[in-house]
């Protein structure tokens, strides 16, 4: 096993372990911390896959901005005392634990038997695959409309979040 594969396996192990802890830890605060670990693992995978720009964005936007939002809300609501898992094993939970491995099996079978991607559609790069310059060039040429639509989406989400979280004067 090459040293690169060893690194990939290690990161994958940490990613899966932290994902399991996100789901099964009772304290939401610890779930947030483990989700940050998971996001950093995904960011390291991006770096291994030569997606340098996405690595930076993942750390700044996801692990930075979005998770800080989660931390604020968890602390604001103070859910510590009511996070007791109900002892009743309901049908939905049993089906979920049975269906999860089934979903993994189905996805793995599909991925193992996929047809080899012999011909790709390699783009032409100005300064290399995954570079910030090529990312910006694509965003402002081929995907300009989608980029502008994303900005509208962010404005709508911002206004919606402010209105939803506003205290009603009665």
């Amino acid at each position: 096993m090459s040293s690169q594969m060893l690194v990939v396996n290690g990161i994958a192990f940490v990613a899966i372990f932290s994902a399991l802890m996100v789901v099964f830890h009772r304290n939401p605060m610890m779930s947030v911390v483990f989700l940050i670990v998971n996001l950093i693992c995904i960011a390291l995978f991006f770096l291994l896959l030569q997606a340098q720009f996405l690595f930076a964005i993942q750390i700044i936007v996801y692990a930075g901005a979005i998770m800080v939002l989660f931390v604020f809300v968890v602390m604001l609501l103070n859910l510590r005392q009511e996070e007791k898992l109900h002892p009743t094993w309901r049908i939905q939970r049993i089906l979920a634990f049975l269906g999860g491995p089934l979903l993994v099996g189905a996805l793995w079978t599909a991925l193992w038997h996929r047809s080899p991607s012999s011909e790709g559609f390699p783009g032409s790069f100005v300064s290399g695959f995954g570079s910030t310059e090529d990312m910006g060039r694509l965003l402002f040429s081929d995907y300009l409309f989608q980029f502008e639509a994303a900005s509208v989406l962010l404005v709508v989400a911002m206004i919606g979040a402010v209105i939803l979280a506003r205290r009603k004067e009665s």
């Binding site: 939401p28 989660f70 989608q146």
Partner: protein
């Protein structure tokens, strides 16, 4: 070999997120599990983008991150609004429109 291994990891992460959405009842943890699933899909996009040497997958990841940010902001706003009303973030307490 990395591009055949990483989608398998992403499949496991996606399934963990899906199970989490179904078994947890705290609305904030459910939102976090949705982030987990979105990240698993992002990992798949990145590995196939690397394999095909095409940056379209990176563009997709960029927009998925945008949507995830919007979704987290609105979702947490809804959680706060519900918490003000009911003093709880349990999804079972929000059952007015349940079938």
């Amino acid at each position: 070999m990395m591009t055949s291994f990483l989608p398998l990891v992403a499949a496991v992460l996606f399934s963990i997120g899906a199970v989490g959405v179904l078994v947890r009842r705290n609305a904030i943890v459910i939102l976090m599990c949705i982030e987990l699933m979105l990240n698993a899909v992002n990992l798949t996009f990145a590995s196939y983008s690397y394999e095909l040497r095409s940056m379209t997958g990176h563009i997709f990841i960029f927009f998925v991150m945008t949507v995830a940010a919007a979704e987290a902001a609105v979702g947490l706003g809804i959680v706060i609004a519900v918490f003000r009303k009911r003093q709880s973030a349990d999804v079972d307490d929000v059952n007015l429109m349940r079938w």
